[in-house]
C-alpha cells in the first residue's frame, strides 16, 4: 500500500530530536496501550502483519498527526471492531452494550513470561530452493499492491546485490489479509546510495533492505 507510513526518502519532516534521559513511557495511557495491544492478540487472533496493516491504513491525516501509541490505539480499535469484539459504539462510549463475543483464549498472567520469551518466529521450511544466492544482482519489482506490503517504495525499480539469504519467511502481503502464511525466501539486498538517490548521493554509502522473493527479479 502506497501509504504515508512508507516514509523512507521523504523530506521536510524536520530534524531528528533526541530526548535526553527519555522515559520508557511518557504517560500512563501509553503503558496501557502497549499492554492492551499485546494482550488482545490472544482473543483477537490477529498477527503482527494484520496489526501493522490496521495502523498504516488509518486515514493519512490521522496517521501523521498521531503519536506512536495513539496510532497503536487506533489500530487496536480498528482490529477489535472489524472482528466484532467491540462495537463502534462501545469504543466511543467506553460502555458495554453487547455481551462479550466468545473467544478461544485470553492471555493469563502466568503465561506472559513464556509468551514473550518464545515470541513468534517467522522462518518456515522451504518448499522450493531459493531462486537467488549471495552476490546475485536483482531488481526490486515495480509493484503497487493496494494491500499490505513490505516492499518499500524507495527501492522499487532499483537494482541491488543479494548479500544474505535469511531463509524462508512468512509473507506479510498474504499474512496481513488472512490469506495464510505463503512463506517465501527472504533476502537482504544492498543498494548503493547513488542507485537509490542519484549522483548527488555519497559514492560509498549503501542501504540494506530485507526483501522477499516475489518482490525481486533478476537484474
Amino acid at each position: 500500500m502506497n501509504g504515508v507510513h512508507d516514509m523512507g526518502g521523504m523530506q521536510d519532516f524536520g530534524p531528528v530530536v533526541p530526548e535526553p534521559n527519555e522515559p520508557i513511557f511518557h504517560a500512563d495511557w501509553e503503558r496501557q496501550v502497549l499492554a492492551l495491544t499485546l494482550a488482545m492478540a490472544a482473543p483477537g487472533g490477529w498477527n503482527i502483519d494484520m496489526s501493522r496493516h490496521a495502523r498504516e491504513s488509518l486515514p493519512p491525516a490521522q496517521y501523521l498527526s498521531s503519536s506512536y501509541y495513539q496510532i497503536w490505539l487506533a489500530g487496536l480499535e480498528k482490529l477489535m471492531s472489524e472482528r466484532g469484539l467491540l462495537t463502534g459504539e462501545e469504543i466511543e462510549t467506553g460502555r458495554a452494550a453487547e455481551p462479550p463475543k466468545s473467544v478461544d483464549r485470553i492471555l493469563k498472567a502466568e503465561n506472559v513470561a513464556g509468551v514473550l520469551a518464545s515470541g513468534t518466529p517467522y522462518e518456515r521450511p522451504a518448499d522450493e530452493p531459493a531462486r537467488f544466492k549471495t552476490g546475485d544482482r536483482v531488481r526490486a519489482r515495480n509493484l503497487h499492491p493496494e494491500g499490505h506490503t513490505r516492499l518499500v517504495r524507495y527501492v522499487r525499480g532499483h537494482a541491488g546485490t543479494i548479500t544474505r539469504v535469511h531463509g524462508c519467511h512468512v509473507f506479510p502481503d498474504a499474512s496481513a489479509h488472512g490469506l495464510g502464511e505463503r512463506a517465501h525466501w527472504l533476502y537482504s539486498v544492498r543498494f548503493t546510495a547513488r542507485e537509490l538517490w542519484g549522483e548527488e548521493a555519497s559514492a560509498r554509502d549503501t542501504v540494506q533492505v530485507d526483501l522477499w522473493e516475489p518482490y525481486l527479479e533478476p537484474a
Partner: protein, 214 residues
C-alpha cells in the same frame, strides 16, 4: 510496580481525551473478559523494568571480550543472544552488524518502528518519528550529525532498513585503551544509540562522566 500504574494518575478531570479513552477501553476489555488485569500489569512491568538496552550492552561487551562468542554471534546471533537469556518477541531473528574503520552501520525501520526489543527494550520516540524514519535512508550523514556523530568521508555508511522480522543489532567498535577492562566495565561503555548506530561507544572517561550508560 505491579498493579500500581493507576495510583499516580491525577483526577479524571485532568486526563487528556486519549488517556480517558484508554482508561475506558481497558475497563471495558477487562469487564468483557478479553483481558486479565494481572496479565496487563505483568506486560508493563516486563517492558518497563526487565527488558532494555543494558541487555544489548552485555551482548556487545561479551562480543568484544570473547572471540568465540563473537564467532557464534556471526553464525547465528539469535542463538548466541539466547545464551544470555535474551529471547522472544521482536527478537525472533537477530543479525549482528559490525562496525569497522571502513563501515559504520545504522538501523531504521522506515515502515513502522521495528526494533530488537529483547536486547534494546522499547524504542525511543525519535526512532519512531517521521524525521528519523524518512531521512535515515536518504540522508544518513545529516541524521548522524544531528546526533553529534561525524564520520570520515571514506567510511561507508550502511543503513539497515528492518522491512522484515529480522532485527539488527550494531556491534560498535571497541574504544581504544580498554584492554584491561572486564565485561561489566566494557558494558558501561555501550550506549543504546551505539547499538542502533546513531552513536559510538563511549571512552572510559566519557562513561565515568555520564555515570556509565544511558
Amino acid at each position: 510496580m505491579s498493579g500500581d500504574h493507576h495510583d499516580h494518575d491525577h483526577d479524571s478531570s485532568e486526563l487528556s481525551p486519549t488517556a480517558l479513552r484508554v482508561r475506558a477501553l481497558e475497563s471495558l476489555l477487562v469487564e468483557k473478559g478479553y483481558v486479565e488485569q494481572a496479565a496487563l500489569d505483568k506486560l508493563i512491568d516486563t517492558y518497563e523494568h526487565k527488558v532494555g538496552p543494558r541487555n544489548g550492552a552485555r551482548v556487545v561487551a561479551r562480543a568484544w571480550s570473547d572471540p568465540a562468542y563473537l564467532e557464534r554471534l556471526r553464525e547465528d546471533a539469535t542463538a548466541a543472544i539466547a545464551e544470555l537469556d535474551f529471547t522472544g518477541r521482536q527478537g525472533e531473528h537477530i543479525v549482528i552488524v559490525e562496525n569497522t574503520p571502513d563501515v559504520h552501520n545504522m538501523v531504521v525501520c522506515t515502515l513502522c518502528s521495528c526494533y530488537p526489543w529483547p536486547v534494546l527494550g522499547l524504542p525511543p520516540v525519535w526512532y519512531k518519528s517521521p524525521p528519523y524514519r524518512s531521512r535515515a535512508v536518504i540522508d544518513p550523514r545529516g541524521v548522524l550529525s544531528e546526533f553529534g556523530v561525524e564520520l570520515p568521508e571514506e567510511t561507508e555508511i550502511r543503513v539497515w532498513d528492518s522491512t522484515a522480522e529480522v532485527r539488527y543489532l550494531v556491534i560498535p567498535m571497541r574504544p581504544d585503551h580498554t584492554e584491561g577492562l572486564d565485561e561489566e566495565a566494557l558494558a558501561a561503555l555501550v550506549t543504546r544509540n551505539a547499538m542502533i548506530g546513531t552513536g559510538i561507544a563511549l571512552s572510559p572517561e566519557e562513561a565515568c562522566a555520564e555515570g556509565g550508560g544511558e
